[in-house]
């Protein structure tokens, strides 16, 4: 289990570890799968609800999405397009939450190097969401 601890920076002289000595990352893989599945179930359900409501009310799908800050208000009003907009947002956010879970997972394995890599990815994704919200 020596590989659990962050090693020295990569380089030609860095020590190597046999794969047989590697930790079992099964819990990390399982939590990643659970996060993806939850995002899919929630996003897919919202999409189905939105489609069913619009079919029931004989409403056409809109050709545009509403700004993110208006989606929750429209949802409270029971608008079918709000469910569809929220479904898209949930689907788009799911990989972000997955990366967060991966970062936490590596951190729990004391694998600081890969936890940091994951946090950097998270920062870049946060920047894209932030840019979208201020536009």
């Amino acid at each position: 289990m020596s590989d659990l601890h962050p090693g020295p920076p990569p380089g030609p002289d860095a020590p190597t570890t046999s794969l047989d000595e590697r930790e079992d990352l099964a819990p990390l893989y399982s939590s990643t799968i659970r996060t993806l599945r939850a995002g899919f179930v929630i996003g897919g359900s919202l999409l189905v609800i939105g489609i069913l409501i619009s079919l029931y009310r004989r409403e056409d799908l809109l050709t545009f999405v509403h700004p993110m800050d208006e989606v929750m208000g429209n949802l409270v009003d029971g608008e079918s397009h709000a469910f569809i907009d929220l479904a898209f947002i949930v689907i788009m956010v799911t990989p972000v939450i997955t990366v967060l879970r991966v970062a936490v997972g590596f951190s729990r394995f004391n694998d600081r190097r890969f936890a940091i890599y994951s946090v950097v990815v998270l920062g870049i994704l946060a920047a894209s969401i932030g840019l979208s919200l201020v536009r």
Binding site: D3, G7, P10, G11, P12, A14, T16, T17, S18, L19, R22, L28, Y29, T32, I33, L36, R37, G39, F40, G43, G44, L47, I51, D60, L61, L62, T63, F64, V65, P67, M68, H81, I84, D85, F88, I89, I91, M92, V93, T94, P95, V96, T98, V99, V102, F106, R113, F114, Y117, S118, V120, V121, I124, L125, S128, I129, L131, S132, L133, R135
Partner: protein
Amino acid sequence: VDITLAVELSLVAAGAAILGSMLGLGGGVFLVPIFTLFFGIDEKLAIGASAVAVVTNSIVGSSVHLRSRFTNLRLAMLLQIPTAGGALVGALLAVRAPERFLNAIFGAVLTYAALSMIFRKQAKHVDPGRIPDPWRLGARYLDPATGETVTYIPQRVPLGLGVSGLAGTISGMLGVGGGVIQVPAMNLLMRVPVKAAAGTSAFMVGITAVATSFVFYAEEHIDPTVVTPALIGIIAGSQIGSRLTRRVRTQRLIWIFVAILLYLGISLILKAASIDVPGQR
């Protein structure tokens, strides 16, 4: 809503997802050209739809790859840094780029990817016991097609990081996940077996497409009449594709990949040059 069009879009998306999931490409590489060439959908709406579809395909498809351990999470997180950064820059460029330019870039990327697969050399299997693994990226998985455990250690990591940055920029511009570049790069440059490259890429493409999705959402390039049928098809197709991956031999995947990419790539280049493509709307 035109129900016939919605069904057609769903079927195309399902086909794209089956191939995309099997190849770790996310499906967007097939969706955008088909939507623009054969359905006359605006390029930016197609890219927006593709980006959301790629995220969905990755969410659904990568669970199966993760369970099979084809996905290498350490490799994914390392390569994702330049990929996600590039995707953000690419998406911001794409919303201002002319359609013709995007078609030309897309066509060139598809053609290059197809040619690189045709002329590729078989990646040599390296015994991981004899080579160093300073980046700690080595992994193994059981290949159900052969019943053998495949062990590998990615090579030439700095080069892989550079290519990932390029892949991210292009994928951000085109609404694809970047797998079209990353799968060959991981396989040919980094010596990652194709199934591990496809599994790792299937996970990465969803993260990469997030940046594009949010930028296109904010720019109102997400059209629910296009995205909703695409998602329905993508969800069905990725379920089928990710299960087929475990049963189909790698060589067959590559030739399907090459034929479709070449056709779509050349069609987009012709469109950028204002030359009609048969069947184009």
